[in-house]
Symmetry: C2
Subunit: 132 residues, 2 copies
DNA sequence: TTAAGTGCAAAGGCTTTGCAGCATA
DNA sequence: TATGCTGCAAAGCCTTTGCACTTAA
């Protein structure tokens, strides 16, 4: 494996991602990073997000938005629920997804490496707003 | 409902989408449209894709790519399998997905309007290439 | 006739890249 | 010291928008 220097910027970005405990987009990650290191640049954010992804440290998710969300990879697989009203993103786990994957594996010649699932809808608050 | 003139461009774009029987991105849709009408512009493609989406005629899918795929809406729900080797996109249906949705509905306060699921992996051909 | 759509070109928004200087190992 | 990273600014891409002209109804 190639040597990768541990720079201050990398440490900072990973710390923020870990602290965030959830999906951040590049812009938000940058915003938080600048608070601690005003000299950090957007290019560094993007370059390191790509690196982290390559190293398997973070997951990149495109929740039907223009930009991506990034989050520290965790041991348990989880999926997302996106509220179309307020944009809130909620995570959930679902053993039933495994069944879907198995079903597809049986019926196709694909080697499945990743399942991307997200559900769109309205959370309780936004649902009520729409009804009134 | 608002009056919507049926323009030549709209007819052409819908025809292409219908013929395609699957996911096209804006660029490819434009490429095919230009063959029949060299004067059509990319702006028209985008404007009409938005319109079709709004009218519920097409579905917009972001299969973890920079751009979106568009496809004519069909009666049966289906999902996508994307090969990370060659980029091929294969559609599949899965009743098991319904179970996942029901599960989430029961466990959350969300009103779910749409499920986005796609699986990534390697098709048989690409799998073999990787192994050799 | 007239409201709506189209083409063109320019601008937007997110992301990538070239390059010179800087930092890690 | 040498390879690799950073900041900056410019460029790339996909998508949207302003405006004058054209078209469907």
């Amino acid at each position: 494996m190639k040597e990768r220097p541990v720079t201050l910027q990398r440490r900072l970005l990973l710390d923020i991602l870990r602290e965030a405990q959830g999906h951040l987009d590049a812009r938000e990650l940058y915003r938080r990073a600048v608070e601690k290191d005003p000299r950090i640049s957007m290019a560094t954010v993007y370059r390191n997000l790509h690196l982290f992804k390559e190293l398997g440290l973070v997951d990149e998710r495109r929740l039907n938005k223009v930009y991506c969300y990034y989050e520290i990879k965790r041991s348990t697989e989880h999926y997302h629920l996106v509220c179309q009203g307020c944009g809130r993103v909620i995570e959930f786990e679902s053993p039933a997804v495994t069944k879907v994957i198995d079903e597809v594996k049986r019926n196709s010649d694909f080697d499945i490496t990743r399942a991307v699932l997200y559900l769109e809808g309205y959370c309780r608050m936004c649902k009520e707003k729409v009804e009134n």
